[in-house]
């Protein structure tokens, strides 16, 4: 048993921190928010082609680095800290995770090398409201219906969507520019991550990705890992809320002293620290389970714990950041509001805290 990070893991984390401090500062985040697709192409290109983040958790056989959930968790923590706007989460944390966990050998060979090289963006729906149907069409499949809550879909994405087929639910890959595909992107209150609804009208694809032999274990594993990775992002974001707040209260003076010297303020910051460090322990622990031999039932509970806690902690800390910044915290000019909106949006997605705790209770009781 070993709970410390390796030198390589520390290096990956520190490199991510350095890159994002430079390329995903407040100005960059706001520029990305104002773009149509929700990200700056040069930042994404650097992430994929130069930094190799997309290759981290892809097996070496498919051109990746063959590392695992701990490394990806560490990158995600930094991505959250810097509120990175990028199709990285959808492509790597969701898409590559799905393909790794339940994909056929063919689909892995076809898609993962391009993901690892940063050449392919995957847009994924993890919604459990399945409104897509897939029918056999010779060697191909024909898809119809609506894909909901598709994350980070742009014109040159590859869509990874679950659809109902005669033999059960399958996972299908469809190029977003295939005839019959209509993307309607909605910019939410949280403009730092985009979701689309996808209409499919007799869309033909040859690529069904799911391996029935892997689905039963791989499906829950992919869901658990997706929750782990977003929890890591929420952890980073919560840490940023605290750091922004501590920096502000150490400067802001009222009644002739810095407001950070008032116990009412100190204690609330300390309470944030308690929650954040507890969350960090939970997220690191869940990641360590994912990197160990934990059975999928245990992994599910661990990652549900991490995501439920992360949602609650981030929302609390984002709210505290606004409150402790006072009036300026309520302005669009200062950053706490950006984190508050990300906190709200990520709380709903991939399982609300209540749903996740009910999953845990279902096992315990």
């Amino acid at each position: 048993m070993d709970f410390s990070l390796t030198d390589d893991q520390i290096m990956i984390r520190d490199a991510a921190q350095d890159f994002l401090a430079d390329k995903s500062d407040s100005g960059a985040v706001r520029r990305a928010m104002a773009t149509h697709d929700g990200f700056e192409p040069d930042v994404w290109a650097a992430i994929g082609a130069e930094l190799g983040w997309c290759a981290v958790a892809v097996p070496e056989a498919h051109g990746g680095m063959g590392m695992g959930p701990v490394e990806l968790m560490l990158i995600q923590e930094q991505a959250g800290y810097h509120l990175l706007c990028s199709p990285f989460f959808s492509t790597v944390c969701l898409g590559a995770t799905l393909l790794n966990s339940l994909g056929t050998d063919e689909s892995q060979s076809a898609l993962l090398p391009a993901v690892a090289g940063g050449e392919l963006k995957l847009a994924v729906s993890m919604s459990d409201k399945l409104q897509l149907k897939a029918d056999r069409l010779g060697e191909n499949w024909s898809l119809n219906g609506q894909g909901l809550q598709v994350c980070d879909a742009v014109n040159d994405s590859m869509l990874l969507l679950f659809a109902r087929a005669a033999d059960g639910v399958g996972l299908f890959a469809i190029a977003a520019n295939t005839p019959g595909v209509t993307l309607s992107s909605q910019t939410g209150w949280d403009a730092t991550r985009r979701f689309s609804t996808v209409e499919l009208d007799n869309v033909v694809t040859p690529m069904r990705c799911d391996n029935p032999g892997r689905l039963q274990q791989g499906g829950p594993r992919a869901t658990a890992l997706a929750r782990l990775y977003i929890a890591a992002e929420q952890l980073g974001a919560a840490q940023r809320c605290l750091d922004l707040t501590v920096a502000y209260i150490a400067e802001r003076k009222q009644f002739g002293r810095v407001i950070g010297s008032f116990q009412a303020i100190k204690h609330r910051c300390a309470e944030m620290m308690v929650q954040i460090e507890g969350l960090r322990s939970g997220v690191y622990g869940a990641a360590a389970q994912a990197a160990s031999d934990a059975p999928v039932e245990i992994l599910n509970m661990e990652c549900a714990m991490a995501k439920a806690l992360a949602s609650d902690v981030l929302f609390h800390c984002a709210g505290e950041a606004i409150q402790l910044h006072g009036g300026v915290g309520f302005t669009d000019e200062y950053d706490p509001g950006l984190f508050f909106k990300r906190a709200r949006a990520s709380k709903t997605w991939l399982g609300t805290p209540e749903q996740l705790r009910e999953e845990i209770a279902g096992v315990l009781l």
């Binding site: 048993m1 070993d2 709970f3 410390s4 990070l5 390796t6 893991q9 520390i10 984390r13 701990v70 605290l242 501590v246 209260i249 150490a250 810095v258 950070g260 010297s261 116990q263 303020i265 100190k266 204690h267 910051c269 300390a270 309470e271 620290m273 308690v274 460090e277 507890g278 969350l279 960090r280 322990s281 939970g282 690191y284 622990g285 990641a287 360590a288 389970q289 990197a291 160990s292 031999d293 934990a294 509970m301 661990e302 714990m305 439920a308 806690l309 209540e354 996740l356 705790r357 009910e358 845990i360 209770a361 315990l364 009781l365």
Partner: protein, 393 residues
């Protein structure tokens, strides 16, 4: 970062579990899960006998160096030992203050004569210790010690004053005391660290009756009580240094054992909920899942503390730990009583129910002793976040 256990660790886990299964039986059966916080008055004599049983098996002072009678176990194996001890329902250790606090302090700061005189009794489970730090005017402000000591005509020390919140004084043979040896000094200066037998004319012990119905805490009064000249640890004036070094001696290895007791308490809550139908109440289900999640956090947090590796916020995990577990435990007690409902309102005969009632009441002390919530928040804000320090009078 890997949670898989090595074959050697597994074998050691098995060894401890087997020993416990073979020895915590017969007359000791009644001790299972007894004697923990809030239950320390349970079976004191039998628990002392159990300490000797442990000692005979070589299971006391497992982290101490071999030259002082310990097993010199690695941190990992100490953790495994504490976990398996608790998992088996091992009773609260009457000897824990000797083993965990004064023993390590003597190893670090004591002279050869003191080590030879006191360490063997602790290892053998024969001598029991309690800690004399807090006073009526020295609570959160621990350095505000008023108890006085001076050297008498015979060359021995005399001690007068009062200690309070002394755990297990009623079951102990010796007490270690910080007292002011340089009159007129303030705060952490001018203190001495003395070892004193409790069974002597100048010492009076009075139990404190608590809201939990038990009385494990005591007041200890000293009226020109005697500490032998050779029973001062360090020099006069070093008292604070020794006292603080002692608090740091425990690296938190026993905390994973404490978590096993917490897990047992959560199991009792689940059992009670299933028995009375509260397991179908969505609000209770949510709180049980929260409690389970908090326990996972505590475990991973303790593993972070023990790994002490290169972490993004080195040391913060240690700063939050006491606040986290004590508040979690208090919530657990409230959950337990909400699950029990009317059954919780009357002191129970069934120990599985009584234990939950004890958790509810005794956990109110968890957020007070060893640094109140408010002091913990100050420490975290100042040491963890670098915010301005509180003004001092």
């Amino acid at each position: 970062m890997n949670l898989n256990e090595s074959p050697e660790d597994k074998a050691f886990r098995e060894e401890v579990a087997t020993w416990m299964a073979e020895h915590l039986v017969g007359e000791y059966e009644v001790l299972k899960h007894r004697g923990g916080p809030g239950d320390e008055e349970a079976y004191p004599e039998l628990r002392k006998q159990w300490e000797k049983e442990l000692a005979a098996g070589g299971w006391t002072c497992v982290g101490w160096p071999k030259e002082y009678g310990g097993r010199e176990l690695s941190i990992e194996h100490q953790v495994i030992y504490h976990e398996e001890y608790a998992r088996a329902g091992g009773p609260g250790r009457v000897g824990h203050i000797g083993e965990g606090l004064i023993g390590p302090a003597l190893i670090a700061f004591g002279n050869d004569a003191q080590k030879a005189e006191f360490l063997p009794g602790i290892v053998k489970g024969e001598t029991y210790w309690c800690q004399g730090y807090s006073e009526p005017s020295a609570g959160s402000d621990l350095a505000n010690i008023q108890t006085k000591c001076w050297v008498g005509d015979d060359g021995d020390w005399r001690v007068s004053g009062q200690k309070v919140w002394t755990s297990l004084a009623m079951d102990s043979d010796w007490i270690f005391v910080i007292a002011r040896c340089e009159q007129g000094t303030k705060g952490r200066h001018g203190l001495a660290f003395l070892l004193m037998p409790l069974d002597q004319p100048g010492v009076t012990i009075k139990p404190i009756h608590q809201i939990s119905g038990s009385a494990e805490f005591n007041e200890v009064f000293f009226d020109e009580a005697v500490a032998k000249a050779g029973h001062i640890v360090g020099e006069p004036g070093d008292g604070w240094k020794v006292a603080m070094g002692l608090l740091e001696a425990e690296r938190g290895v026993s905390t994973l054992g404490q978590q096993m007791h917490f897990a047992h308490e959560l199991d009792l809550i689940i059992k009670a909920a299933k028995a009375n139908g509260q397991d179908r109440n969505p609000l209770i289900r949510d709180r049980i899942a929260k409690a389970w999640s908090g326990l996972r956090v505590l475990r991973y947090n303790a593993l972070r503390m023990l790994s002490g590796g290169a972490d993004v916020a080195l040391g913060r995990e240690a700063l939050i730990y006491k606040y986290y577990w004590s508040n979690w435990h208090r919530d657990l007690g409230e959950l337990a009583m909400d699950v029990l409902g009317e059954q919780g309102d009357v002191p129970a005969e069934d120990f599985d129910i009584l234990r939950l009632q004890q958790v509810f009441f005794f956990s109110r002390a968890d957020t007070i002793y060893a640094g109140t919530n408010e002091i913990q928040l100050n420490i975290m804000a100042e040491r963890g976040l670098g915010l301005p320090r509180e003004p001092r009078g």
